[in-house]
Symmetry: C2
Subunit: 286 residues, 2 copies
């Protein structure tokens, strides 16, 4: 099962998820000088994947950055996923889709089976279980999974996610639903292929969800550029596993401002990912 593969990857390679939020302003001038933006992004992604695939659990592509480059950008997304798969890596599509019935089925087809197919995608639950169920047939094979937004890492997550409903914040109601939906999709690792996105910037919330829902695997955004560190993400883990921690700009933008950054961006990305892994390991007592 995909969730067991992810569990094994964390055990073997550590919990870092390298976020390929590859927008032109992050790209080295040397690449932009010789290639159109979408092709430069693809070349960059390949180099970063090659430099980090043996020290990270997975890659996450934020599709917005590719959509902003139009059809060429989406071809870059597709080719980046294919390259990572060739290297044996697990790929999360951060698409945050959420829609119902025939439309939900189309998103499921697009992102779990179609041209843009990845291993797991992020899903927005605001419209309720109708937005989750279209993905379930794809989970049956064991090869696909989803992460449902539970408590995100942005400041205004509190606008709705923390509204009190019957004495409990909304995000815990969502987490409860995620755990229930996931009961039939639990692997040998004890985690479900229906995971949750729980941000590192709300450490108390992270701890609350972890304590109550041991079978939810976490995708944790917010590390690095958004301000969280190893100490903040540590409560996401159970016995050193059960979560991947994403960082994007702090890894793929680590070359910026360095004298040789234009040439050696992949090495800087690797060094940043290694440093992040060490930071998290320290707080996990490894």
């Amino acid at each position: 099962m995909i969730i067991d593969r992810l569990f094994d990857a964390v055990a073997k390679l550590g919990p870092v998820c390298v976020g390929l939020d590859t927008s032109p302003q992050l790209l080295p001038a040397s690449l932009l000088a010789k290639l159109p933006p979408a092709q430069a992004a693809l070349a960059f992604n390949r180099d970063v994947i090659g430099a980090t695939v043996d020290i990270c659990a997975c890659f996450k592509l934020q599709i917005a950055h590719y959509e902003a480059l139009g059809v060429d950008g989406l071809a870059c997304y597709r080719e980046t996923v294919a390259y990572a798969h060739d290297k044996g890596a697990i790929v999360i599509g951060d698409v945050k889709r959420g829609d119902i019935a025939s439309t939900g089925e189309m998103y499921a087809r697009a992102h779990l089976a179609g041209e843009f197919a990845v291993d797991m995608i992020t899903v927005n639950p605001y419209m309720g279980r109708d937005t989750i169920f279209p993905y379930l047939p794809y989970l049956e094979s064991g090869e696909k999974g989803i992460f449902v937004l539970v408590r995100t890492s942005n400041p205004s997550a509190q606008d709705f996610q923390e509204i009190e409903c019957g004495g409990r914040p909304l995000f815990l109601r969502v987490a409860r639903a995620v755990a229930e939906w996931g009961e039939d999709h639990i692997g040998r690792s004890g985690y479900s292929a229906i995971g949750g996105v729980v941000g590192a910037t709300g450490t108390d919330q992270l701890a609350a969800v972890r304590a109550e829902f041991p079978s939810i695997f976490f995708l944790v955004p917010g590390y690095g550029a958004q301000g969280a560190g190893g100490r903040d993400v540590a409560p996401a883990f159970r016995d050193g596993n059960g979560a991947v921690v994403n960082a994007s700009r702090s890894i793929i933008g680590a070359h910026r401002g360095k004298p040789d950054g234009d040439k050696c961006y992949a090495s800087y990305a690797r060094a940043a990912a290694v440093k992040m892994r060490e930071d998290i390991d320290r707080w996990l007592g490894k």
Copy 2:
């Protein structure tokens, strides 16, 4: 302002929004026989747009159906939007994106300024105001707008949207936020360029939001295939305006099962849209 253009279109052409959820299974066999799926979808969309542009307020493209066809599908999306714009029509991109900070900015760029730019898009509010604010710079020109999901038309909308929070359902909290965010973007029509998606399948909820928030323009899904009729959508309107009602399958699939449907799909789409407009007009006392 875009919202005034939409208001004027409703006044002049009626409140029908033709939903171009163009998936291969809806396409006439005659088109699929001579063209690849994405090109067949484009040919179909052009014909439907040509046949309905003078009797509908706007078109809505559900992007999931295009993503499911990969890069070619997204080129079809782009070309369909361009064709509708050439015909002077207003186009809503039903993308339900919702993300924060730099990612939100990328979605805004992609769907309000980039290659996939439409006039208005749908946005998911689960992550709070951080997901709305990236779109605001694009609203400044007056030419762009958004529809925020408030109360959707699917059965499980109740899972979270109707959770009681301090004595009121969540969707009314969201509607309140939408009205507040929209205060600085109200046009001469009295409506804001920050509108709301409120489904036709919850008529009481529709009436509740309309009564409390007169400046929110509604995009109303759920008519036709999802079960709602003119009577159900009537509470969305104020003096016969302030809402567009979307139907997709019941319009673009009206040719199915008809002896000459394969040839005359555009005429069937037009007839279905006219019938829908008459149905709604009757309940509005027009």
